[in-house]
Symmetry: C2
Subunit: 376 residues, 2 copies
């Protein structure tokens, strides 16, 4: 085959999942090369590109041209941007578009966009014909370092976020770092929360490196590619250890139980809170809650908060503009979240920087009291 | 655990799929015992029962009582009966009901009904929280011998049948043979087409046994249980060899490519044609087409048709009441069916009774000519 060898600035992370193994390519210019990279790896010669109104004007033509040049017949579907697109209605629309394009099992659905498009298109790829091939072309930092890797797909319902979906691994992830230059500062920061998360889970050296080098990561270039590759590698390690989240994969939810509750409490209104901001506040809360349980030291809490604040992320519930519902309502959102087993709450707690662990017996009364205390 | 040992008349077929292995129990009185059998195998103590308007009045109360007696908290959802229920809209309704019941990963969705309810509820079980436990309580012969075993789930779209779904194995199948006594003759015969199919695929002795014993199978009792158990065992063997239909599992589609096209051509109108009847006609067509390609002998065609006719099944397109669309339209339905790879048609052909094989290079022109010739 004619797989292209990485250019000097490029990084390749292999996710070794047996017959579901795949490559993540990280570097500049990957959208222009997408057709060749996909043709070298997939048997099919049809693709349905799923994207949104924000991303399409910038990158859709370039991606389709690259596919066609490589002999891949491409159709495209442009959806509204935003979290509300992760709905049953849009899932139907995507499935219909994929079937209309006569995409068969060896052909591909390609997600061109952020986490919303990736989660939705990946879900459709997992259920059309009970599974067709899937390529992620993530266009946000958040999706490059998190949602495009690991095979979790899904949509939201009025019961909560990501409560309906499948595990469906991509066959290839193309993280084109050029696209990050057009992100707003706020979007980039939101993605950075997930980068910092990998350090906080189990890589204290990486967290220290970020404390020292975050300005270069924000500026772009080699440090940024390094940070993205390290994040993808960290995510890959966790996914390989526990593909279907029966145990350690839950570590990736550090900060997410509180974060999801805050997203639900702000009705997924991105003017008030985006996912990464919820995770940033959630990670500080998780460290504080751990300190309250005498697991982590108050100094670690301070260090986490100081770093996230330095890069410009919100760290307190009070940083969210507008009123929040009472602590009881936040608790209710947590209880309906999927990290619940037979009534007991599963939480990611920590013994310090890079020492997170899964606790599956946290009493909800403790969490509620803590939320009341921290409520602005 | 307190798993119940089978009563004398009962049969147990184990589907050995590693960590997804499960039991199929076949015999009388299983609905009344469902709660105990489920409680002995599943950790969760919540269940959402999905059923339809025809089945609910007969068996829902008994099933719910059995669950509650075993300490399983049961909710239920009653859907309209019929193929049209396998839709995105009803999938949403089922997912919502399962989430409202707060069914978690170790809890169960229970399908109480025929293939439509099993396929729909199984799909919901496969996607709510990215997979919860699933129990099949099939109430038609068709679902007891075919759709309840093997993990294929799905819905129909305007593009065709079962084009959206997942592989999600059940954790237990309870085939209560008492319920078959209330089926109409027509329904029972339709299910019998799939029983005969297992003989035609690769069990010539079973087909000969059916030729000799079909009256006893229709009459009920030990021969019926034996035929169902043999069918479940045959299906299990194929599924274990190829869980996700990359190869030999396609053999189960013997008669189904033609059958599905006829179902589509009659707009899934059960007054004209039900699935098993389409399969019966499709199996005769598959044998005739194989004879036309000089693979099978005309005597085998006659033998297959004679047996299906003897039990009262339709065997010719002309047996379907009303007008059929032209052969070209049937061909179009076949081409959109999922057994298509890069434009080539995959067909199940046969060299004789019990000698089926997967052919993946059948030219569509041959099929079209054959359909024109056989068109009434």
């Amino acid at each position: 085959m004619n797989a292209i060898s990485p250019a000097p600035a490029e990084r390749l992370v292999r996710v070794p999942l047996g017959e579901r193994a795949y490559d993540i390519l990280i570097g500049p210019g990957l959208i222009a090369r997408a057709g060749r990279e996909i043709a070298a790896r997939l048997k099919g010669r049809k693709a349905a590109v799923i994207t949104d109104e924000n991303v399409a004007p910038r990158y859709l033509d370039a991606l389709v041209a690259s596919l066609e040049a490589a002999g891949i017949q491409a159709s495209s579907l442009i959806l509204p941007a935003g979290e509300k697109t992760k709905s049953f209605e849009h899932l139907m629309t995507v499935c219909d578009a994929v079937l209309t394009a006569r995409v068969e099992r060896n052909d591909a659905v390609i997600a061109l966009g952020g986490g919303v498009i990736g989660d939705l298109a990946g879900f459709a790829a997992g259920i059309v014909r009970r599974g067709v091939r899937f390529v992620q072309v993530p266009t946000s930092l958040l999706s490059q370092v998190d949602s495009s890797v690991g095979g979790k797909t899904g949509i939201n319902t009025h019961h909560g976020k990501n409560l309906v979906g499948v595990f469906h691994q991509p066959d290839l992830v193309l993280a084109d770092t050029d696209v990050l230059n057009t992100l707003s500062e706020r979007e980039f920061r939101a993605g950075y929360a997930e980068v910092a998360k990998y350090g906080l889970i189990d890589k204290p050296d990486f967290f220290a490196w970020l404390e020292a080098n975050w300005r270069q990561v924000f500026a772009g270039g080699a440090a940024r590619i390094e940070a993205i590759a390290a994040s993808c590698q960290a995510k890959s390690d966790v996914v390989v250890a526990d593909e279907r989240e029966n145990g350690p994969r839950a570590l990736l939810n550090l900060g997410h139980t509180f974060g999801h509750a805050l997203e639900a409490a702000t009705a997924y209104d991105s003017r008030r809170l985006v996912h990464g901001e919820g995770v940033a506040i959630g990670m500080v809360l998780a460290h504080e809650f751990s300190a309250r349980l005498n697991l982590a030291s108050p100094d670690d809490v301070k260090r986490v908060e100081a770093h996230l604040k330095a890069v410009g992320l919100p760290t307190r519930m009070g940083d969210i503009p507008g009123e929040l519902p009472p602590a009881e309502a936040l608790m209710d959102a947590i209880a309906q979240d999927k990290k619940v087993k037979s009534g007991k709450l599963t939480f990611i707690l920590t013994r310090g920087i890079g020492q997170s662990f899964v606790a599956d017996d946290v009493p909800s009364s403790e969490v509620l009291n803590f939320l009341k205390e921290k409520h602005p």
